[in-house]
């Protein structure tokens, strides 16, 4: 997904002179050609994330389209107030693109974990949040929205779905229809959800744009009054939207990252196992919900 980010942004830099890329001292090698080809619009700004966000809002005031890229905790948690005041409150457009969200950098410890990115940004009105599940998703969703005048947060993941689905910004995809309940898979969790649910009669919805939330599609596809939400960040970021989308009371269960410090290291797969992000656990949890 990171390679796709480079390819997509290079294409945009080529065709849109308003696009300006600000790197927080990461991705410099990946963007080496962009540095060469667009020296006036590609910068390694340095390790000063808060000022980078404010500076990006200043670029936006002059009519440019900033794309800011660094590691998730430094881009979101460290800069929450800059995102809130300088983009949200000021109603300015721009693009924040993170890597290393949740525990993608498992071995680096909790300072580099960030399962809070999506939930905290949900607290800033009008910030649009995109969690692509594949490189193709990112390419499509970024190109559709990068210049839409809103602030967007794109969460690049270290893992990709093998399942390819034609996504559209602001729209959910219905992967299959069933009667016993609805499973919502966010971004890179789609493969696991598809495999886990292949023999059970549930609807599966794939979400890549979390805000603006596709209420219409979700509303039409809630089945059995039961919803299982599979999300790769702290649980709960889209629960309110799902409850609002339903005309009837719902029984909802979650699989998300629990609100605890993950003080073990290892690999993201080991953390998946520990936290229950496995096909087996997903199937067990869904069966329990639909048979209750």
């Amino acid at each position: 997904m990171r390679k796709q980010f480079v390819t997509t942004v290079e294409e945009i830099l080529k065709k849109d002179e308003r696009a300006v890329l600000l790197l927080g001292d990461i991705g410099v090698f990946g963007f080496r050609n962009a540095f060469k080809n667009y020296p006036d619009r590609v910068y390694n700004i340095g390790i000063l994330e808060q000022s980078t966000i404010s500076m990006a809002s200043g670029l936006s005031i002059t009519g440019l389209i900033p794309i800011v890229h660094t590691i998730a905790p430094f881009l979101t948690e460290r800069c929450f107030e800059q995102i809130k005041d300088d983009f949200g409150y000021q109603k300015l457009g721009g693009n924040l693109v993170s890597v290393g969200a949740s525990y993608d950098y498992a071995g680096l410890g909790c300072t580099h974990h960030c399962p809070a990115d999506v939930p905290i940004l949900m607290n800033i009105p009008d910030v649009q949040i995109i969690v692509p599940g594949t490189s193709e998703d990112f390419d499509t969703l970024f190109k559709e929205s990068y210049s839409n005048g809103k602030l967007k947060y794109f969460r690049l993941s270290e893992r990709e779905n093998q399942t390819k689905v034609p996504v559209k910004f602001g729209k959910a995809n219905v992967i299959k229809k069933g009667k016993s309940g609805t499973v919502i898979a966010v971004g890179p969790l789609l493969d696991k959800v598809i495999n886990a649910t292949k023999d059970i009669d549930v609807t599966v919805i794939y979400l890549t744009t979390l805000r603006p939330f596709d209420t219409e599609t979700v509303q039409k596809n809630i089945t059995g009054g039961k919803v299982f939400i599979c999300e790769p960040y702290y649980s709960g970021a889209i629960t309110e939207e799902i409850i609002k989308a339903s005309k009837d009371p719902l029984k909802i269960e979650f699989l998300g990252v629990p609100k605890e410090f993950l003080t073990n290291y290892g690999t993201k797969e080991e953390h998946d196992e520990h936290l229950g992000f496995t096909e087996k656990n997903i199937l067990t949890r869904i069966k329990k919900l639909i048979h209750e």
């Binding site: 000022s51 404010s54 500076m55 809002s57 200043g58 002059t62 009519g63 440019l64 005041d85």
Partner: protein, 253 residues
């Protein structure tokens, strides 16, 4: 200036809101900026060829509003609505409500990096306008001020001028030492002036500073013009009662 000072006092009194001494501290600087320096058109506040001014210490909004109204950016009658529920004029300025306001400030340490972004954006687009920003000395505690100082000199933003309203209100917390030396060591051209001498302010703001940003350390008095308020921290965020208002107005008359 008396007229503007009186307006600030009256509006703070009637609204029971506002930071009077902080506003008086920068009034001379604001007046010189809008009278002699900034290329702005009150009838076309979004003119793409305008200069930019950002009040990073947004709590001094009463001062900015008085000057903007005096220059015709909006009807002076609006000043009377300061901080009322439906007013466009809040305790901190909002760029989406107030004609002439370029950035919504309030939380300290945001205006300078935004100004850096505007200055850089103008450079990228090969535009010639200038960007001016006023920060406070207390605000200079914020790390983003010094992050921005690094960025501005690294990117050779000679279209950026930062005025530090050095009224020493932050002294009770942190000793900033020699601000001129600090900005100089960050690669800025720097000078110290009397922030209430309008001729000196104008001369400083017109200083050429090729390839580097300019910092002007303006020695100011918090509450300047009304002796009872000057350097009196009790008045930082306080509006006068009837009796106090009458006393302060007498001082101005």
């Amino acid at each position: 200036m008396k007229k503007l000072q009186t307006e600030i006092l009256q509006n703070a009194f009637s609204s029971k809101e506002g930071h009077i001494p902080s506003s008086l501290s920068i009034l001379d600087i604001l007046w010189v900026l809008y009278s002699k320096i900034l290329k702005v058109n009150p009838k076309k506040p979004h003119d793409p060829n305008r200069d930019y001014f950002i009040l990073s210490k947004g709590h001094a909004s009463l001062g900015l509003y008085s000057v903007l109204a005096e220059k015709g950016f909006f009807d002076k009658k609006k000043l009377k609505d300061f901080c009322r529920y439906e007013s466009i004029l809040g305790g901190h300025p909002n760029r989406n409500k107030v004609p002439g306001v370029e950035a919504s400030t309030g939380s300290l340490g945001h205006g300078l990096p935004i100004a850096v972004g505007i200055a850089k954006g103008l450079k990228i687009q090969k535009k010639k306008q200038k960007v001016f920003v006023i920060i406070g000395d207390g605000e200079s505690n914020e790390g983003t001020i010094w992050e921005s100082a690094l960025l501005a000199s690294h990117h050779k933003l000679d279209n950026l001028c930062c005025i530090v309203d050095h009224n020493h209100s932050g002294d009770r917390a942190l000793d900033l030492g020699n601000l001129e030396n600090k900005f100089s060591s960050f690669g800025w051209d720097c000078m110290t002036i009397n922030g209430h001498d309008q001729k000196e302010i104008e001369k400083a703001l017109k200083t050429k500073h090729a390839n580097v940003p300019l910092a002007i350390i303006a020695k100011t008095i918090k509450g300047y013009g009304i002796k009872a308020l000057e350097n009196n921290s009790a008045w930082h965020h306080k509006s006068p009662n009837q009796e106090e208002f009458e006393g302060l107005m007498k001082e101005l008359s």
